[in-house]
């Protein structure tokens, strides 16, 4: 994928935190940002990953932003009316929609309903998943297919995160 800005949700970041490979986020051609809400979710829901997340911020592999733009606050609240999404997801969507960034999230089944209910269906929201991030890393030669497949095995075997492929060769 081309460079640009990706707003990352907890679901994606935690996959890289668990294998202690936040360096891959830094190697990605796009710049990654996370909202304060996502940072809070990581410390609340995944306290074991808090140190790694803080280290990634310190190493500027991604940045964390306070979301106080009135338009983004309004989108965030509109998405709260029907509580389908977590606050981290809502804040990430608000930023991505308002600024025209890409959203990185692994679970987007409830998003379309939430956008529809919030009257936000006309807005463009490109979405990428963890799998797409790895593919981009392979394509930019930041990661070999073998190394990516090793990560795939690690996720499935040790971190209960399974992709619907056996090897990245299937989709490159």
């Amino acid at each position: 994928m081309s460079s640009g800005i990706v707003v990352a949700d907890t679901s994606v970041l935690v996959n890289f935190l668990r294998i202690d490979r936040m360096d891959l986020i830094g190697l990605h051609p796009a710049t990654f940002i996370a909202t304060e809400h996502v940072g809070t979710e990581i410390s609340d829901a995944y306290p074991d990953q808090q140190v790694r997340y803080s280290a990634a911020l310190e190493a500027q592999l991604l940045s964390e932003e306070r979301i106080d733009d009135p338009t983004e606050l309004d989108i965030f609240l509109k998405l709260s009316r029907h509580p389908r999404l977590g606050s981290g997801e809502r804040s990430a969507i608000a930023v991505a929609l308002n600024r025209g960034h890409v959203l990185a999230i692994d679970d987007n089944r409830a998003i379309n309903k939430a956008l529809h209910e919030a009257g936000l269906t006309g807005m463009n929201l490109p979405i990428i998943r963890t799998q797409d991030i790895v593919v981009a890393l392979i394509q930019t030669e930041a990661l070999t297919v073998e190394a990516a497949d090793a990560i795939l095995t690690d996720w499935a075997g040790n971190h209960r995160f399974r992709l619907k492929i056996n090897s990245f060769t299937e989709i490159i």
């Binding site: 679901s11 509109k78 009316r81 977590g86």
Partner: protein, 409 residues
């Protein structure tokens, strides 16, 4: 249109929280809170979420068009009905937490198109005197037992039975004088909260009592049960319902028969004599004193129906199985009755000890079930599952894993 700053100030003042307390909770200087309320400082999504939690409001309360909502805020309704909430933050917080869980549950039910709040019939009726109250309570208890297919059997988990009727149930911290309350509000539906400091046997009676309010008095937004309003007709009706619902008249007779008690002192029997084509009359007289209902029988009945010793005595009296002196005698023997209960190990029907056992888990279980189902059907996201699990004090990672497994089926 009211702006965000004004809404923040109104919500804070309504909960009686100082700017300083908000600032400390958010880790900000007090001036930051002042400036947010006067519109001189921006509010972040995270700060807004935390303030909403602190003020017991959904985030949507702060939407610019939220003033179109007409209904009175549930926290205002509850503070009026339970004024102690304003004086005791721990009660305010505990009740607020339960209300928040009910609100989550109501939203999940809506997403799943589950509208079970009307499952329990509306039996509202006028009463002119105590007789009306007692009769209505007893008749509806009988009808509800029939409708729910309970027969004459004891009820296992009463909170479970009520939850199945689409009513949220929870035991939580309440003022000592408050056994429980019933609330009916558009934001959460119908809910029954009982005093978690009371022992399970008393909580069971409170659940049954508040269930009566759900059946008879649901048009009132809140009905509280306190010592000082026990003489009200609606309270007498609810008590009559609770006793009859927990201890059905025919069930009591069946149990007394099993105990070989409660037969009249003289019983006339007529037998047909086929040889002489005539009837033969005889009179059966149980051994003198053998039919007297003793504290041991009361204990056995209490154990069978899962109610207290005292509640059993009063139910026997109201059903006419014991007369006034016998009632007095059995009540006087309540301590010996409780010693007997203790001796037999029926500790669950005693209401004594240092700490009451933990509250019932029905609300937590129902909310967990709804959340997993909503996730499975793609109605809510992973992040939402994590949020709900935190409110239920369930490990979010564990809950997400269970949710993913449900989706995989």
């Amino acid at each position: 249109m009211i702006n965000l700053g004004e809404r923040l100030r109104t919500a804070r003042e309504r909960r009686g929280i100082s700017q300083q307390a908000v600032a400390e909770s958010l880790g900000l200087p007090r001036t930051a809170v002042t400036n947010m309320e006067t519109g001189k400082r921006t509010v972040s999504t995270l700060e807004l979420t935390r303030m909403a939690e602190l003020y017991g409001q959904p985030s949507t309360y702060f939407l610019a068009d939220a003033d179109a909502v007409n209904e009175e805020d549930i926290s205002v309704v509850l503070h009026r009905a339970v004024p102690e909430m304003a004086e005791r933050p721990e009660i305010d917080q505990a009740v607020g937490h339960i209300v928040d869980l009910c609100r989550e549950g109501a939203a999940l039910r809506e997403m799943l198109n589950q509208t079970t709040e009307q499952a329990a019939p509306d039996y509202s009726n006028r009463m002119n005197h105590v007789g009306d109250a007692i009769r209505q309570g007893q008749l509806v208890a009988q009808e509800e037992r029939r409708r729910l297919g309970l027969g004459n059997a004891p009820i296992g988990s009463l909170a479970d039975v009520i939850t199945d009727q689409g009513i949220w149930t929870a035991a939580t911290e309440l003022p000592d004088s408050l056994s429980g309350f019933f609330v009916n509000h558009p934001s959460i539906g119908v809910a029954i909260l009982v005093n978690a400091q009371h022992w399970p046997v008393r909580r069971r009676f409170s659940y049954a009592h508040e269930y009566a309010h759900a059946l008879f008095d649901r048009h009132a937004p809140v009905t509280t049960t306190r010592q000082e309003n026990s003489s009200d007709l609606v309270e007498k009706r609810a008590n009559a319902f609770a006793a009859a619902f927990l201890m059905p008249a025919e069930g009591v007779v069946e149990q007394l028969t099993q105990l070989d008690k409660g037969r009249p002192s003289r019983l006339a029997e007529v037998i047909f004599d086929v040889a002489n084509n005539a009837t033969m009359e005889t009179e059966i007289r149980p051994r003198p004193g053998s039919q007297a209902i003793t504290y041991q029988d009361v204990a056995a009945l209490a154990r069978h129906f899962g109610v207290s010793y005292e509640a059993t005595v009063w139910r026997l009296k109201s059903l006419g199985h014991i007369n006034h002196p016998e009632t007095d005698n059995l009540i006087q023997k309540k301590e010996i009755g409780k010693r007997y209960i203790k001796l037999l190990g029926f500790l669950d029907i005693l209401d004594e000890g240092e700490t009451a056992p933990p509250p019932e888990v029905e609300l937590r279980n129902e909310l967990t079930r709804l959340a997993l189902e909503a996730f499975r059907q793609g109605e809510i996201s992973r992040g939402r599952i994590a949020e709900i699990s935190r409110k239920l004090t369930i490990n979010p990672e564990e809950m997400i894993e269970l949710a993913e497994a449900a989706r995989g089926d």
